[in-house]
Subunit: 421 residues, 2 copies
Amino acid sequence: MELTAIQIAALQAKRAKAASLGLRSLSTEKKNQALLAVAGALAKKTDDILAANAIDMENLLEKRSDASKALQSRLILTKEKIKAIVEGVITVAGLPDPVGEVVKITERPNGLEIKKVRIPIGVIACVYESRPNVTVDIAALALKSGNACILRGGKESINSNTVLADIFREAVVSVGVDQEYLQFISFTDHAAVSALSKLDKYIDLIIPRGGEKLIDAVCDGATVPVLRHRKGITHIYAAASANLDMAIKIIHNAKTSNPSACNSLEHALIDAKVADKILPELLKKLKESGVEVRGDEKVQVIVPEVVLATNVDWLTEYLDYIISIKIVDGLGEAIAHINKYSTNLSDGIITEDESEAQKFVSAVDSAATYVNASTRFTDGSEFGLGAEIGINTSKIHGMGPMGLEELTVTRYIVLGNGQIR
Amino acid sequence: MELTAIQIAALQAKRAKAASLGLRSLSTEKKNQALLAVAGALAKKTDDILAANAIDMENLLEKRSDASKALQSRLILTKEKIKAIVEGVITVAGLPDPVGEVVKITERPNGLEIKKVRIPIGVIACVYESRPNVTVDIAALALKSGNACILRGGKESINSNTVLADIFREAVVSVGVDQEYLQFISFTDHAAVSALSKLDKYIDLIIPRGGEKLIDAVCDGATVPVLRHRKGITHIYAAASANLDMAIKIIHNAKTSNPSACNSLEHALIDAKVADKILPELLKKLKESGVEVRGDEKVQVIVPEVVLATNVDWLTEYLDYIISIKIVDGLGEAIAHINKYSTNLSDGIITEDESEAQKFVSAVDSAATYVNASTRFTDGSEFGLGAEIGINTSKIHGMGPMGLEELTVTRYIVLGNGQIR
């Protein structure tokens, strides 16, 4: 009798759970040794990875000859990309190990010593889309933080991911780490995804990374806790006291440096007091970069040729060379707009006024809230976390890019000498 | 047209969300002032609270003349209990405010300063059962941590809870805090509960405290993140190197001091090497306290009269004067049994051997893992948290009794001077 995708996913989850028991007590040294073995193996097998990736690229273009440049560029691996991936793994090996960290010690009047300490979460499932380097990011972060992981990548990258996962499993076992810590799900239909999020017996956390459909497939009826972000509707507010050149430079960069990234800018709010000074130069630069600019009525007064932005625009994550601009009357209106439309991923203010910056960051509670910098930095690697296993905008566990620390949970160890209650 | 319970719950959740925006920027001073006003009002209105509670008690005994002593003792309020409740509120006012705490600062090579800071979660819904003091614990912790809260208590305590919630709302408004921060749901059917856990537009976290049915009603189809514990199947392992008197004293206390509490002991594991020294005295003490003792075959060899414990016992949370005892061959078997049957709330070891204690706490990852103390201390108040909003055994956010810190979440504030990517 042949097993179904769902049955095999359950078996793999069970294997991950069993492996997690040994993984959580691995020494930092052993985990680093395993990561360096992985880095070496990835470098050595660059040709195998490229060959598998070439099949993925071929399959993509065969099935979808119209596949977007963006999709192709996410999927394709090159020697340079693999070199960066290898360096990423080495970086993770060099990061401090959060497991065992004593976060707080409390001495109680009855003499009990209560320690709040970090332990691995246990088994983490990740469901993601086309970029094969995500496979490596997650497998490396999970290993370093003592977690077993279940990886289910997109169908486009199935060949690349399979080779990458195999390299991890072979390399870790070569230094005596249980290869079952990494379970790669080779079924790419949504049935396996929905099944994973209901395996709370074996899986402690599931992280979907991708489009709305994928996230819905994970969340629907999930019994495993889910951490994720949905859309990235990102705002930058140029305040009246902004350094105007800086405002133009940051808004332009946040929009154009990679429009398909979730942390790219979608909506700029310009203070009415400086709108006529910022808009002409900003629009010129945006147009030079091929950006379609939409604006509210007040923007149209200053720059009549812009398309009118409607309420639909404020609700839209373009992920494209489009921006909507609104003129606002001061900080209050900017905050109100952001709190209404932001998806809490990444929002910022440009201002030279410290008390204004302070008010902004205390009123806007996005996972990453910026003062005088591009929102494009919302990323585990840019934050110094080595990589990220996802970005969390749920208001539990830890918002923002999830690195090693977010792959642990605190619990209590209570040391006594006979205390009873 | 009359609104349904579900529509009213949604309106109240919306009001809580609106109130949460103001609440999160309240100063510590203002929040403490509000808590002290509440404490004063609770003391002043003790008679009103007792009168409402008397109606609850009357209703209970009228409808369920067979209501257990345990239920009655959970529901009843006395002058002494109210005095303790008032002191609890004053304690919360005296605790440090976690909001705004900078957990970590990272300086990046590009000059970005990345701060990880604590903010309130936002809107927290709590669904709980008969004890009216839970209303006060949650309302006080939520206020101090800058969160709006939606309270839905049990039907038995509806009159007591209504008065307590009213006192909170009146007292906070008297010092200028928005009373809408506290929404009390007066519908006690399960429809309102199920509705709450789907209001993710307004509610950031839902915490059910109670029996399996209540938890299922919250979890089923929930779109709001849920943190909770289910049963408390609690173990204590008396190792070969245990101080035998201490082992007997702690096991006896953990079983008998309050069997209906989730942190009370259900199953004792006794090392084979010391079983004949511990069991006779332990069983004598347990029987004197009216505890029914069950045991495995090995226990029966030493004490033939005990009832045989079966696999059903190891899966059971008695919450009663019953205990099951198993004789195990060393630390490994004890850990394997606990990892198989524990619900990760509270487990402990009695040992004089430090390395053994270390192995135990690193292999058992219960929310509170004990060395040489009663498991009965798993409680926010006993942990020095003032109170608790619940106990979390999910392996995210922070396991164990949830106090002020667990009512916050970390997010990032990024300070730059024009950085682009």
